[in-house]
C-alpha cells in the first residue's frame, strides 16, 4: 500500500531530515517524524506480512479477508503490507496498531480468524486468541498480560540490526524509511567524507563478506577506488542461489530502501557511477518492491546526477538474472551482466581491478551491504563492538529443517550453534535425535553433535575444517540419510557445473556415479561387489583432492565437500551402505529389503505381475516370495499390495 507522496512531505523530509541530520530535532519535529515513521498513528493500522514466506503460508487469502472486512464495516483503518519479521513458521502474521496503544502481533492468521481479531482489537479488547506479542513502546499504552516481542524466545537471543525494520514498515514507502533515519547516512557521507575515507571507515569496522567469501569489504573497495580507470562499477550480488538460504530475498522484500542506500554508499566509496543490483528473476516480489523503491529514490533525487548538489553521479540499474547456481560467483555474475554465458574467469585479475567490461568493479553480497548504512551512521567502533575478535557484527541465518521454529534470524558473531537451535529455534521438533546442521551447499560444511558448541565465527569454523557459508542452516535428524544427502548435493553440483574446467565438469559426474553406486542398486539384477564399491569410495578421496586442487572457481572447489564431510563425520553410515547394503535412516529406496509376510499374503499375484525385474515367485492363491538377489528395491510390490503383506526392513 503506497502512502501518498505529497510534495509537502517530500520537501519536509529532505530539508528537515536528510539535509540536517545532525541538528538537534525539536520535540515538535520529533513528533511529526514519528507519525511519518508510523511510530505514532492517527487511526488504526493493520499490518500484514506479505513477503514470500507469508504468501506461501496463505497471507494472500488473509489480505483479501482483511480488505473485505474493512470494506464491509466501513472501517477507517489503514492496511499496510509489510515484509517478514523472520518467524516464518508463524506466518501469516498480522499486526494491529491502535492510536495510543502499542502494536500487537498475531500469528497464524488465516482468513477465518480475521473477523474475530479485528472485531475485538479495534474495540480495544484483547481477543481470546493467543497473541504472539506486543512491541515495547515508551510512548504508548501497553496491553495487559501480553508478552513483549523482544522476550519471545525466538527474538530474545537475536541481535536485530539488519532486520530492525523488516516486517515493521511498508517496504515501498520511502517516507517511513527516511523518517526512521534512512538515507541520512548516505547524504551525510557524500557531504562530509571522501570516498577513500569511507573505505577506511568500513575497513576499520571489520566488515567481512557475508556471501561465504569473508573478504574484508573496505579493502576490496579501496582496491577498486585505487585502480586507475575512466569508469568504475559496483555490483550487488543478490543471486542467492544456495538452496536453503533465502534471507537476502527476505530482507530485500522487507526493506529494499536499505539495500539501495547501501549500494549508493558503496558506489560512492568505490568511485562507481553505475551500480547494478543483479537479482534472480524468480524473486518476483523482491524485484517489484526494489523497482518501486528505486523509482522513489529518483523522485527524491537520491540517485541520478549531481545528487544533493554534491557533484556525485550514481545510477542504479536492476538486472534480472537468469537462473544458474554459478551466477553467484562474482566473475560469472559479471559475465552474465554482460550478456554472456555465466562462466567464471581466472583470478587474477580480480574484478576489483578488472571486472565488468574490464573496468574496476567491486561485487558485494546483499547481507554485507545491509551493514553499511549502519556502520556509517553509528561508526566503525560501534560495529566492531559486536561479535568476536576476528569476526565482527552479526550473521543472518535461515533456520529450517527439523526445528520447532524456522525463519530468518540475526545473531551476533560468537553465539554457539547449539544456542541457535535450542534457544532461538526452540529445539528439535520431535523426539528424533539431532544429527547435523547443514550449513549450505556453498560450503558443504556440517555441524555435528561434537561440534555443536563451536562459535559462529570465521576462524573458529576454519579450525574445525568447516566454513560459514552463506547462512543456510538446515537441521536434520536421524531420519535423514547423510549418504543420500551427499549424493543429492553431488547431483546438484553436476547439474550446476558450468562446464568450463575439466575437474568440475567431469569430476562431479564421476563422483555422482560413485555415490549412486553406493546408494542405489543398478537395474538388471547385477550389482557391484562390496570391494568395487569400496574401491569407488577410495577413488572418491583422490578425485576430491584433485578437484579441490585444480578447479577454476569456488563452485568446483566446494563440490566434493559434502562427500568428504560425510566420510569424516558419518563413516559408519557410509560403511553400512557399502558393505551391508543397508540404509539406517530408511531413506535410500533401493537399499530397502522387501519381504512378503506369508501369513498375510493371499496369493492375488498383483505384485508378481507388477514386478519390473520378475523377482517375485509364487502361484495364484499361494503365498509369494521375493528373490533378494533379483530385487532392486523399487517398492512397486509394496505399493500395489492391498493386504499390507509386503514388509520393508
Amino acid at each position: 500500500m503506497k502512502s501518498d507522496l505529497e510534495n509537502g512531505t517530500k520537501e519536509f523530509l529532505i530539508q528537515q531530515v536528510l539535509l540536517n541530520p545532525g541538528r538537534a530535532a525539536s520535540a515538535k519535529l520529533q513528533k511529526e517524524l514519528s507519525y511519518i515513521a508510523r511510530e505514532r498513528v492517527h487511526r488504526p493500522v493493520i499490518y500484514l506480512g506479505t513477503a514470500t514466506c507469508g504468501m506461501v503460508a496463505g497471507a494472500g487469502n488473509t489480505l483479501e479477508a482483511i480488505r473485505a472486512y474493512i470494506g464491509e464495516n466501513g472501517l477507517n483503518a489503514e492496511l499496510v503490507e509489510v515484509g517478514c519479521i523472520g518467524l516464518c513458521s508463524a506466518e501469516p502474521i498480522m499486526d494491529i496498531q491502535l492510536p495510543g496503544r502499542s502494536r500487537l502481533s498475531f500469528s497464524h492468521v488465516t482468513p477465518d480468524k480475521v473477523q474475530v481479531l479485528l472485531d475485538e482489537v479495534i474495540n480495544n479488547h484483547l481477543p481470546d486468541v493467543p497473541v504472539l506479542g506486543q512491541y515495547r513502546s515508551q510512548i504508548h499504552q501497553e496491553w495487559e498480560g501480553v508478552p513483549k516481542m523482544e522476550d519471545h524466545p525466538f527474538f530474545k537471543n537475536q541481535q536485530r540490526m539488519l532486520l530492525e525494520h523488516c516486517g515493521m514498515i511498508n517496504p515501498v514507502d520511502i517516507t517511513t524509511y527516511i523518517a526512521r533515519g534512512g538515507y541520512c547516512a548516505f547524504v551525510d557521507t557524500i557531504t562530509h567524507h571522501t570516498p577513500a575515507q569511507v573505505c577506511q571507515l568500513v575497513d576499520q569496522s571489520g566488515l567481512a563478506g557475508r556471501g561465504g567469501g569473508g573478504y574484508p569489504a573496505g579493502k576490496k573497495w579501496a582496491i577498486t577506488l585505487g585502480t586507475v580507470s575512466d569508469q568504475r562499477y559496483f555490483v550487488c550480488n543478490a543471486v542467492e542461489s544456495d538452496p536453503g538460504s533465502y534471507m537476502n530475498r527476505a530482507i530485500i522484500e522487507s526493506n529494499p530502501h536499505r539495500l539501495l542506500e547501501a549500494v549508493l554508499i558503496a558506489s560512492y566509496a568505490t568511485g562507481a557511477t553505475k551500480a547494478f543490483v543483479f537479482i534472480r528473476k524468480e524473486f518476483r516480489l523482491a524485484i517489484r518492491r526494489l523497482r518501486e523503491a528505486l523509482e522513489q529514490t529518483r523522485e527524491y533525487g537520491l540517485t541520478g546526477h549531481h545528487i544533493f548538489d554534491s557533484g556525485v553521479n550514481i545510477d542504479i540499474v536492476i538486472k534480472e538474472g537468469a537462473r544458474a547456481f554459478v551466477c553467484g560467483e562474482e566473475t560469472a555474475l559479471n559475465n552474465s551482466i554482460e550478456g554472456k554465458r555465466a562462466m567464471p574467469a581466472s583470478k587474477p585479475p580480480f574484478p576489483a581491478v578488472r571486472g565488468l567490461w574490464n573496468k574496476p568493479t567491486s561485487v558485494n553480497n546483499v547481507e554485507t551491504l545491509f551493514n553499511v548504512p549502519l556502520i556509517l551512521q553509528n561508526g566503525p567502533d560501534w560495529f566492531a563492538s559486536t561479535g568476536t575478535e576476528r569476526s565482527k557484527g552479526t550473521k543472518l541465518f535461515t533456520l529450517s529443517g527439523k526445528v520447532r521454529r524456522s525463519g530468518t534470524v540475526e545473531v551476533p558473531m560468537g553465539i554457539s550453534f547449539r544456542d541457535i537451535i535450542d534457544r532461538i529455534g526452540g529445539g528439535m521438533n520431535s523426539d528424533k535425535a539431532f544429527k547435523a546442521i547443514i550449513l549450505g551447499i556453498n560450503s558443504g560444511s556440517y555441524i555435528v553433535e561434537e561440534t555443536l558448541d563451536t562459535q559462529v565465527d570465521f576462524e573458529a569454523l576454519k579450525n574445525i575444517g568447516s566454513a560459514l557459508g552463506s547462512g543456510a542452516f538446515v537441521v536434520v535428524d536421524e531420519d535423514t540419510c547423510m549418504v543420500d544427502l551427499a549424493r543429492h548435493f553431488t547431483a546438484f553440483f553436476k547439474k550446476e557445473s558450468c562446464g568450463k574446467c575439466i575437474p568440475c565438469r567431469e569430476g562431479t559426474a564421476r563422483m555422482l556415479e560413485i555415490m549412486e553406486s553406493v546408494t542405489r542398486r543398478p537395474g538388471g539384477g547385477e550389482s557391484l561387489q562390496p570391494l568395487e564399491r569400496f574401491k569407488g569410495v577410495m577413488q572418491l578421496r583422490g578425485l576430491a583432492s584433485v578437484i579441490k586442487d585444480t578447479s577454476l572457481c569456488s563452485l568446483g572447489r566446494s563440490s566434493p565437500n559434502a562427500i568428504l564431510n560425510t566420510l569424516k563425520h558419518f563413516k559408519p553410515e557410509f560403511d553400512m551402505h557399502i558393505f551391508e547394503r543397508k540404509c539406517p535412516a530408511n531413506v535410500c529406496r533401493d537399499l530397502r529389503v522387501f519381504s512378503i509376510d506369508v501369513d498375510l499374503c493371499t496369493g492375488c499375484t498383483a505384485c508378481y505381475k507388477k514386478c519390473p525385474v520378475d523377482a517375485i515367485i509364487g502361484s495364484p492363491r499361494n503365498p509369494h516370495f521375493i528373490v533378494q538377489d533379483k530385487c532392486i528395491g523399487c517398492g512397486t510390490c509394496y505399493d500395489v499390495c492391498k493386504f499390507n503383506a509386503v514388509l520393508i526392513q
Binding site: 494472500g60 533465502y246 550478456g339
Partner: protein, 159 residues
C-alpha cells in the same frame, strides 16, 4: 506485445541487452522459438549460435511451450530433507514425464528448481505461480487429479 515492440525497448542494441530481451520474449510468448531467436540475432547483430549458447546455459529458458499447468517442484536442501525426492518420483510416474518436459496432451509440464525460498514450509511446489506448501504425497496426488478433472484449486494468492 509483438516482437517489434519488445525490440523497440532496447534501442541501443547492446550485447548486455541479450538476456533481458530473451527473458521478455519468453515472458510474452511462453518460450523461445527458432524464429524469434533468429530475429533477435539480426536485431542485435549477434550470431544465432551464440544466442542459443547463452540461452541454453541458463535453466529458465525454454524452447518449447509449457503445459497448461506448469509445475515447479522445489528440490533444495530443506525440501530434500523433507521428502521432495519421493514427491518428485511420484510426479514423474503420475505425469509420465521427466523434469524439463511437457506431456503429450500439453496439460502438464514439470520443472525441478533448486530453491523457491520457503524452506520453513517444505516440501512445496509452485503451479502456475501459485504455491502449495507443506505437501504430502496424498495431497500432491489429489492436486494432480483435480487439475486433470479441470477443477479449481484453493490457491493461495501468489506474489
Amino acid at each position: 506485445m509483438t516482437l517489434e515492440s519488445i525490440f523497440a525497448k532496447f534501442p541501443n542494441r547492446m550485447r548486455e541487452d541479450l538476456i533481458p530481451l530473451l527473458q521478455m520474449i519468453q515472458d510474452e510468448f511462453g518460450f523461445l522459438s527458432e524464429v524469434t531467436i533468429r530475429e533477435l540475432g539480426s536485431f542485435l547483430n549477434i550470431s544465432v549460435n551464440k544466442i542459443y549458447g547463452v540461452a541454453t546455459f541458463y535453466d529458465n529458458f525454454r524452447f518449447g511451450p509449457v503445459g497448461r499447468y506448469h509445475i515447479r517442484l522445489c528440490h533444495g536442501t530443506a525440501c530434500h530433507v523433507a521428502g521432495a525426492s519421493t514427491i518428485l518420483n511420484e510426479l514423474e510416474k503420475l505425469l509420465r514425464i521427466r523434469s524439463g518436459e511437457t506431456d503429450k496432451e500439453g496439460l502438464f509440464s514439470l520443472e525441478v528448481v533448486s530453491c523457491l525460498g520457503a524452506c520453513g514450509l517444505a516440501p512445496l511446489v509452485e503451479i502456475n505461480q501459485e504455491y502449495h506448501p507443506a505437501l504430502s504425497l496424498e495431497a500432491m496426488k489429489d492436486i494432480i487429479q483435480r487439475l486433470r478433472n479441470n477443477e479449481k484449486l484453493n490457491y493461495e494468492v501468489g506474489s
